[in-house]
């Protein structure tokens, strides 16, 4: 068998073997890959990065555990970025099964904030994240459209107390913070129709800068809002999360997943190219023989 035929008729088990080896190796190996960032996710990063310390970012964790794999990395990346920049955060969870998950995420994050880290060449000292000072977690209330509207009047209307039962007025960071006017921007990490409500009832009424983190499937539907300026930035799926992690120089779960994805895709592409090289060579040989 000539080389070109060998390239074309490789036993498919070699494909399998190489794919297994590459996936398992990249799963355990510790190295970084560059992620190509897109303007949609850059817009979110740059907006948050430009805020002065002490500003308030509103993060709505509006997804259920079934969208966990894609959306949780976004919450982690953005919240950690905010806290490293000494911004303050108001969290809500407007999806029924969200609050427990959001609470867990906040606790995990405050653990990781205790460590010293270097991001984009800037050294950040580890610090304690304090409830009521660095963040407020409002929790869950049904009828998300009304909650979004109510918060436009005053956060205290739908949420007299935070998730843990403390009245908002007794939390230091909520002093003088009434509604969206005191918030720099709203980031809705959403796995469903709540995103629509944030556009029409939130941004449409109160005009704050709105950013989205969405599942991969939903992304295409919301691009028109980006074009019309109602949404200022958007992250789509695991890829979007990885882009934010790349921008914030804070590699996490999304980049880990994308690392395996990228190498696995390359393996497949290389095999496709090998097959075509074989085809091309044998085609040329046949042409020569024909002459």
């Amino acid at each position: 068998m000539s080389v070109s035929e060998k390239l074309m008729r490789l036993d498919r088990r070699w494909v399998f073997l190489l794919l297994i080896v590459v996936c398992v190796f990249t799963f355990y190996a510790d190295f970084q890959i560059p992620i190509l960032t897109e303007p949609e996710s850059e817009a979110i990063y740059e907006f948050i990065d430009s805020l002065p310390p002490g500003d308030i970012v509103f993060i709505a964790i509006d997804y259920d555990p079934n969208a966990w794999a894609e959306l949780h990395p976004m919450t982690f990346a953005i919240a950690e970025h905010c806290w490293r920049k000494n911004l303050r955060i108001i969290f809500t969870a407007l999806s029924q099964n969200g609050p427990g998950m959001a609470d867990q995420a906040i606790r995990d994050l405050s653990d990781s904030l205790k460590l010293d880290r270097v991001y984009n060449g800037v050294e950040f000292k580890g610090r304690e994240i304090v409830r009521g000072v660095d963040y407020t977690f409002l929790g869950y209330k049904p009828y998300y459209a009304l909650v979004i509207l109510g918060m436009g009047q005053d956060f205290r209307l739908p949420f007299p107390t935070d998730y843990y039962g403390t009245p908002l007025d007794s939390l230091p960071m909520m002093k003088g913070v009434f509604n969206y006017d005191q918030v720099a921007c709203v980031v809705s990490v959403s796995g469903g129709t709540i995103a629509d409500a944030w556009v029409s009832y939130g941004q449409g009424r109160f005009g704050f800068p709105l950013f989205f983190g969405l599942t991969g499937v939903m992304t295409a539907q919301y691009y028109p809002f980006l074009g019309s300026g109602q949404v200022s930035g958007l992250m789509g799926g695991l890829l979007g999360a990885a882009q934010y992690e790349e921008l914030a120089d804070n590699p996490g779960r999304a980049k880990e997943g994308m690392r395996v994805q990228l190498l696995a895709h390359i393996v497949i592409i290389v095999f496709i190219l090998l097959g075509n090289v074989g085809l091309f060579v044998s085609y040329r040989r046949k042409l020569k023989e024909g002459r």
């Binding site: 498919r12 897109e38 990228l262 895709h265 592409i269 496709i272 097959g275 091309f280």
Partner: protein, 271 residues
């Protein structure tokens, strides 16, 4: 009667359901829901036929020593155990003689299979006797043991810890792994078939390659590739889908019309 009545029934029910779609009235909706229940109920009754078929084919394999016949015991044991778990649950903490009962009833099932698979009458009788003894013992254990009970009418069986264990540690891993084999098959299929042999194959190849490279940072013009793949998904792919959907819709309606009107009878073996 044997041949014609089924087609008359298809016609009557079919025409009724077509017009039901246009009548939103409460009475029409109720009939619709009732008919939907029919479909579920008939389907569930038919499952008995399916299980019987599975049993027959397995016994046939054992009888004729077809390839991999020994594994048919595994199939039937798994089937029986799962059903048994689903209808039983312990009453208190201890399981009592539950596992003895399971073993006895498994022995009974195995003997019945052997009796069916046996070729000589003597063997048949021997296995039948064994099955009867095991059955009698199993019944005695079931009657005397109070640690567990049968639940047919209420769903306690779904809470049975053995039912859960079989679901979590046998069913889910195997099904998920079967699904994940696709990662490899998609690779081997791409390697084997994406060859630029002619124009159509080249188009398939180029579109797939572009989309697969949409997040690859190491190729020149990576940003344009990402945009191009997004465009491919939302423009040509959408057009292709829409063309197929309309065609399929007309094909479906035509087929269904032919069935309802009795023009096509091949589905009942007459065509």
């Amino acid at each position: 009667m044997k041949r014609q009545l089924p087609f008359v029934l298809v016609f009557i029910f079919g025409v009724f359901m077509v017009f039901q779609y246009f009548a939103p009235h409460e009475k029409s909706e109720r009939i619709y829901e009732f008919f939907l229940d029919w479909i579920y109920i008939i389907g569930t009754f038919a499952l008995a036929l399916g299980i019987w078929s599975l049993f027959r084919v397995s016994v046939d394999k054992i009888k004729n020593h077809k390839e991999a016949w020994r594994y048919s015991y595994v199939t039937l044991a798994g089937l029986y155990l799962m059903i048994a778990f689903g209808f039983t649950q312990r009453v208190g903490e201890p399981w009592g003689w539950y596992f003895v009962w399971l073993l006895l009833s498994l022995v009974c099932l195995g003997s019945v299979m052997q009796a069916r698979a046996a070729t000589s009458t003597g063997q048949k009788k021997k296995y039948a006797a064994a099955a009867l003894v095991a059955l009698a013992l199993a019944v005695v254990v079931a009657l005397l043991d109070d640690a567990w009970a049968f639940y047919f009418y209420t769903a306690e069986g779904l809470e049975n810890s053995m039912f859960r264990v079989f679901f979590d540690y046998i069913l889910i891993p195997i099904l998920a792994t079967m699904f994940s084999l696709l990662a490899f098959f998609i690779a081997s299929a791409a390697y084997r078939s994406f060859r630029a042999r002619n124009v159509l194959a080249s188009l398939l190849l180029v579109a797939a390659l572009l989309v697969m490279m949409r997040f690859n940072p190491w190729i020149p013009g990576a940003e344009q590739v990402a945009r191009a793949s997004n465009w491919l998904m939302n423009v040509p792919n959408l057009a292709a889908q829409r063309a197929i959907v309309v065609g399929v819709g007309l094909g479906m309606v035509a087929t269904a019309l032919k069935v309802v009107l009795g023009i096509e009878r091949g589905y009942m073996g007459k065509g």
